[in-house]
């Protein structure tokens, strides 16, 4: 591996330059901002009304107020976190600007840091209004989860960044041929991380897979909190350990893919 890719001289100045670049882009285009809010709102409303209907039938869901809306909001944090990261990266490919960046003193680790910050910025623009709408429409206050929400958020963001970093590596190595992965890869997590149902619903062999994915712990933890009113810190710690492993593996894969892109000349070809 090329050691200079890791970059010991991390510069916050260069990271802030990149954040500024994405902020200029975001604020210059109202459809980009609308896109951040539109789909999470539609999802939240659809699942919220479905939950209202199910709750009227009593049983478990009568006690589990907000479990669907909570799931959909946390899922959006995971999904939109990765999408925000990947879209910012794709913007450079759309603009044919990667050559300028790769030739500049910007280190890959600084580039990634800027993308991580922008994924939080984009997520905040999209999700904060939606959480307020959830209070307005369904009386579900995600913010009332307090410390648990912080733990959920941290773990979901770590997973979304890991996936985003891996996808960025694939884009560097394979060009726009890997673009569709940026949009769809997270959907693999939707059934396996048990967003809307408990892990026990899965067949035994898939439960092993589910428990190897950090978001599963978050969604299980959310259900325990909303149904049984118990915050299981151990689940968050286990998710965190898995996330550290996932983040390290994704970073390593990114550096290997970047090295491979330099060998195969892929950095010269931003197209197909």
């Amino acid at each position: 591996m090329n050691s200079s890719d890791v970059g010991v001289n991390f510069s916050l100045n260069r990271v802030s330059a990149m954040v500024r670049r994405y902020w200029y882009l975001l604020r210059s285009s109202w459809p980009r901002i609308l896109d951040l809010i539109y789909w999470p709102t539609v999802q939240m409303l659809m699942w919220g009304f479905l939950q209202l209907y199910v709750m009227q039938n009593g049983g478990l869901f009568a006690r589990a107020s907000g479990v669907f809306i909570g799931a959909v909001l946390l899922w959006d944090i995971l999904f939109r976190g990765q999408l925000g990261f990947s879209i910012c990266f794709l913007e450079e490919m759309y603009a044919h600007n990667l050559g300028n960046l790769m030739m500049s003193p910007l280190r890959p680790v600084e580039f990634i840091a800027a993308l991580m910050i922008m994924s939080i910025v984009r997520l905040s623009i999209g999700m904060i209004p939606v959480t307020l709408l959830a209070i307005l429409f369904f009386g579900f206050n995600l913010w009332s989860l307090g410390l648990a929400l912080a733990a959920f958020f941290l773990n979901l963001m770590l997973t979304s960044w890991s996936v985003g970093i891996f996808v960025a590596g694939l884009l560097l190595r394979n060009g726009m041929g890997a673009e569709s992965l940026a949009w769809t890869i997270m959907f693999l997590f939707l059934p396996l991380t048990c967003v809307y149902y408990p892990v026990t619903v899965l067949p035994d062999f898939l439960q092993y897979v589910a428990w190897s994915l950090p978001p599963t712990y978050v969604f299980e933890g959310m259900r325990t909190l909303l149904i049984d009113h118990v915050f299981r810190a151990n689940l968050m710690l286990e998710a965190f350990v898995f996330n550290i492993v996932l983040f390290a593996a994704a970073s390593l894969a990114f550096l290997k893919l970047l090295q491979s892109a330099r060998v195969h000349g892929s950095l010269l070809q931003e197209g197909e």
Partner: protein, 253 residues
């Protein structure tokens, strides 16, 4: 210049294979500091790969590439802030204004007093009036000027140019050449220019390296190349090399 000072750019027996195809096949050259050199060759001659290896975007299969004494790509972060490049094939974000693009890159290159630097370059390159327009709404000539400003933001000691006047009208192209000459004389920068425009190379370059099928076919001053091939223009020399008549004509001389 101190004899111990490494050359601005040095390639030593550089080979680059893409799978089984040799894009660059054992080239060696050194560019002294402050020199301006043209890299000529037809499509697929290996110019772009050569420049990409100098920039650290492509790893050579064999041989070594160094810039200002740093091995590329391994030690590129030692020197990237002292280099820059311009190519019409590499864009700047279209929705950002020219000023926003330049200020972002100024910050990336660690330029102090960014605002003043951008204003000065804008004045030098006649950019001031459209500095606050989105880059995507500028004409080809205006975009080239913005790209050139980006390439000069950090006062680079090594400037790599890939067809800097492609798709420009003759007047704008001439204007760009004039600015490049001015910059080089004022800063003593080393310039490597890949171009298909022979008039441009004849006017700007004191040395010409001609590549064909990944190899260096010839390497000399424009005047000596014309004499050796018995031609009036570099374009005729280029055609001789590209069509495999180079060796024949040189022998005939």
């Amino acid at each position: 210049m101190d004899a111990s000072t490494p050359p601005a750019i040095a390639l030593e027996r550089v080979v680059k294979f893409y799978k089984s195809v040799a894009a660059v096949d054992g080239i060696t050259f050194r560019l002294s500091r402050g020199s301006i050199t043209g890299l000529l060759g037809g499509n697929g001659a290996g110019k772009t790969t050569t420049i990409a290896m100098i920039m650290g975007l492509v790893t050579p299969t064999l041989g070594t590439v160094s810039v200002l004494g740093a091995q590329m790509p391994k030690e590129r972060y030692r020197v990237l802030h002292r280099m820059n490049f311009e190519s019409p094939y590499v864009g700047l974000p279209m929705r950002l204004t020219a000023r926003q693009n330049l200020s972002v890159f100024a910050q990336l290159y660690g330029v102090v007093e960014t605002r003043e630097r951008v204003a000065k370059l804008a004045a030098d390159l006649d950019l001031t009036e459209f500095l606050d327009r989105p880059t995507g709404k500028l004409s080809a000539g205006q975009k080239t000027r913005v790209s050139l400003a980006k390439a000069l933001l950090n006062d680079p000691e090594v400037l790599l140019l890939d067809e800097p006047t492609a798709s420009l009208d003759p007047d704008t192209a001439d204007w760009v050449r004039e600015r490049l000459e001015h910059y080089r004389h004022r800063h003593g920068a080393t310039v490597l220019l890949a171009s298909h425009n022979m008039t441009e190379v004849e006017r700007l370059c004191e040395r010409v390296i001609i590549m064909n099928k990944g190899r260096i076919e010839d390497d000399d001053t424009p005047q000596r190349l014309l004499e050796r091939y018995g031609r009036e223009t570099l374009e005729e020399v280029f055609l001789d090399v590209a069509r495999g008549r180079g060796t024949h004509r040189k022998v005939a001389q």
